[in-house]
């Protein structure tokens, strides 16, 4: 059974601009955001069958809602994030406290290193991929690989619209990979092509990639993805997945979607 960490969007708004999607002038409709978030929760709990762990929102921390960036959790061990931007660094302590309260072994990276949790580190059971250059620093992956005993393949993110790895790459339960190749340089594209058989590489059209089609939550055969990505949904259905489109455009104003709003726990 999948357990996901989520945080209600009580204080979600755009208070600063730290990625190309964020515009303070593009105000969030809070009521709509809350409605969309609850709809997402409903789909995750009822349609997908996930167990949700809710964190307490904190005033003044609008992005706490994006729990994918809380850290990375595996094997009872949690490594909280070290955010690149000072605006989000204040979240670190809340995520770390939550992990501790839940009984995880919390291991922390050196201050001054940058690592933005499951937003940049995701993968298959035996191989993880680590996005770097935009937010996380490549150097943390050699430490994390040691702590989690996993092979971590660093992938450079070359388009700042895809500033976290989970905005352009989504490993699926059946060993397939939903990803948008132009977000990576030719080395990254080559590595992924080398590792994943052609039939298992699912590529959304650009327009849908820019609607964060890859920012999807995969639980078993279920795939929760932002609404407005019909071709991606069709592609996934043709590979035997069950797509659940959910409107999340209020969160897209901040550069986040379904996956950003959840953190896989164990």
């Amino acid at each position: 059974m999948s357990r996901l960490l989520v945080c209600p969007p009580d204080y979600f708004k755009i208070e600063y601009e730290i990625n190309p999607w964020m515009r303070r002038s593009n105000a969030v409709n809070s009521d709509e955001a809350i409605r969309q978030w609850h709809h997402l929760m409903q789909v995750l709990e009822q349609d997908v069958g996930a167990i949700l762990e809710r964190m307490k929102p904190v005033p003044g921390l609008p992005d706490l809602v994006f729990t994918a960036n809380a850290g990375i959790v595996a094997g009872g061990k949690a490594v909280p994030s070290r955010f690149r931007y000072v605006e989000r660094q204040k979240e670190e302590v809340y995520f770390a406290d939550w992990f501790r309260a839940q009984g995880y072994e919390v291991v922390t990276l050196d201050p001054g290193s940058f690592f933005e949790g499951a937003g940049d580190l995701l993968g298959f059971p035996d191989i993880w991929f680590g996005g770097y250059r935009q937010r996380s620093d490549i150097r943390v992956y050699s430490t994390l690989s040691d702590w989690f005993h996993r092979e971590i393949i660093p992938l450079e993110l070359v388009d700042n619209r895809f500033y976290h790895l989970d905005t352009c790459l989504c490993p699926l339960s059946g060993g397939d990979l939903l990803y948008f190749p132009p977000a990576f340089d030719r080395y990254g594209q080559e590595v992924l092509a080398e590792r994943i058989a052609p039939a298992r590489r699912l590529v959304p059209p650009e327009a849908e990639a820019l609607r964060f089609a890859c920012n999807a939550v995969c639980v078993g055969k279920h795939l929760v993805l932002p609404a407005g990505c019909p071709e991606t949904a069709f592609l996934l259905a043709s590979r035997g997945y069950l797509p659940h489109p959910v409107p999340l455009d209020e969160f897209m104003k901040s550069g986040g979607s379904a996956k950003c709003l959840t953190l896989a726990l164990d």
């Binding site: 035996d126 191989i127 770097y132 250059r133 490549i138 150097r139 992956y141 050699s142 690989s145 040691d146 005993h149 996993r150 092979e151 971590i152 393949i153 660093p154 992938l155 450079e156 340089d185 080395y187 990254g188 080559e190 590595v191 080398e194």
Partner: protein
């Protein structure tokens, strides 16, 4: 060519992720080069790999740009320590454990920065001025009490020579000397370099001077006219010699003999052995070989050409010298210092027919300067080649044949190039 360099470390899953390939490609694409110094590949998929890469670039600016570009991919500059310094305990004495230089470009780390050691030459110490952030070589005899001298090997790095870009004999010599090697090709390549250097010299560019260190065998064997021609044509700009080369050169002018042997007569002439003494005496009476040439007493030959062309001459004496000629430096440390002073600006060295001057000059030259050693005795070029430089060429041949062939080659080369 001097290269700036820095060692970087890369670790993690750098092979399968193509991160190492990307870093190495980036270095090359930006115009740098690299040397993969150490590579440990993880034995399992989970185990990380580790690479130690020396990055080299033609300038400090390019090196810093390359480092800036590869650091985001995880290349971290290896932590280096400053070099260790100790004060010289007394005048002319290095501190114990002093670092002895090689003839290769060398840098020392001072206050976290790599500083180029100036005046590189083998078998010297390194003097560091920590406040000014400069370093230079210092001979044992010249060190002053309290001078800050590098000790140990920490924070000192020697930069291996890059293979020269020119595709000539200097670029692929394997430090061996053979008398069975065809000389024509080697002399042809030397001639091409001399033509290039003369162009640079005439344009007033630094590092384009040619040094010739030679012995009296040049005169005895009949290479005098060829060398005088080379000097007159501005192919030679600095001359290192002893007492004998100028003495016998001027003896030819005054008496038509060298060491009593009549050049035209082709035999030893009566009382000919006195000629060089009479020559030396004459020049001593005049005051200098320069004055002798300017006053018209000496009209032809090597020294006359030197005076006409303003070639810098350093004459270093030995214990068997007659006279000596005025201007011959009889204190060997003073002579060494005078030769050392003439080295900056040299772009090539020809060491011809003198064991003593060839070895002394070879010791003063940095490995970056292409040098040619010509001697009938294979031991001399071999000794020079053993210094382990890409750019030392040894030729086992007679001095006169070498100079004549070189002059002939240049007469063809230079007229062709400059037409």
């Amino acid at each position: 060519m001097l290269h700036d360099q820095e060692t970087v470390l890369l670790q993690g899953h750098i092979i399968d992720s193509l991160i190492l390939a990307k870093v190495l490609d980036t270095i090359l694409m930006m115009g740098g080069t690299f040397d993969l110094q150490d590579m440990q590949i993880g034995k399992t998929r989970e185990e990380p790999s580790r690479a130690r890469v020396m990055v080299q670039a033609s300038s400090a600016k390019l090196l810093s740009e390359i480092l800036h570009a590869i650091q985001p991919h995880g290349a971290s500059v290896e932590n280096e320590r400053d070099c260790r310094l100790a004060a010289a305990p007394a005048e002319g004495i290095f501190p114990e454990e002093f670092y002895a230089t090689t003839h290769l470009p060398t840098q020392v780390r001072v206050r976290d920065q790599w500083v180029e050691v100036e005046g590189i030459e083998m078998d010297l110490g390194i003097l560091v001025y920590p406040v000014r952030l400069t370093a230079r070589t210092v001979p044992m005899g010249e060190v002053k009490q309290g001078d800050q001298v590098v000790i140990g090997r920490e924070g000192v790095r020697v930069i291996p020579l890059q293979r020269p870009r020119n595709r000539d004999v200097f670029s692929f010599m394997e430090s061996q000397v053979s008398s069975e090697r065809p000389h024509g090709r080697v002399i042809g390549d030397i001639a091409k370099r001399l033509v290039q250097l003369r162009i640079g010299f005439r344009e007033g560019k630094a590092g384009n001077k040619v040094l010739l260190a030679g012995g009296p065998a040049i005169v005895h064997a009949g290479g005098r006219e060829a060398l005088a021609w080379l000097i007159d044509e501005e192919f030679i700009h600095v001359l290192f010699c002893g007492n004998a080369l100028p003495a016998h050169d001027m003896e030819v002018d005054l008496y038509g003999t060298s060491l009593g042997y009549g050049h035209a007569a082709g035999r030893v002439v009566p009382h000919g052995h006195e000629h060089h003494l009479r020559t030396i005496n004459r020049i001593r009476a005049i005051g200098s070989f320069e004055a002798a040439v300017k006053s018209g007493v000496i009209k032809t030959g090597i020294m006359a050409a030197c005076v006409r062309r303003g070639v810098q001459v350093v004459m270093a004496g030995t214990i068997r010298d007659d006279g000596p000629l005025p201007g011959v430096i009889t204190d060997s440390l003073e002579a060494q210092a005078a030769m050392r002073e003439a080295i900056p600006g040299i772009g090539m060295a020809l060491l011809v027919a003198s064991t003593l001057h060839a070895v002394a000059t070879g010791n003063l030259l940095p490995a970056t300067i292409p040098s040619v050693c010509v001697d009938v005795n294979p031991a001399v070029p071999t000794k020079l080649a053993d210094r382990g430089s890409f750019q030392a060429v040894g030729l086992v041949m007679d001095a006169a044949s070498f100079l004549r062939e070189l002059a002939r080659e240049l007469a063809g080369c230079s007229t062709m190039r400059e037409r």
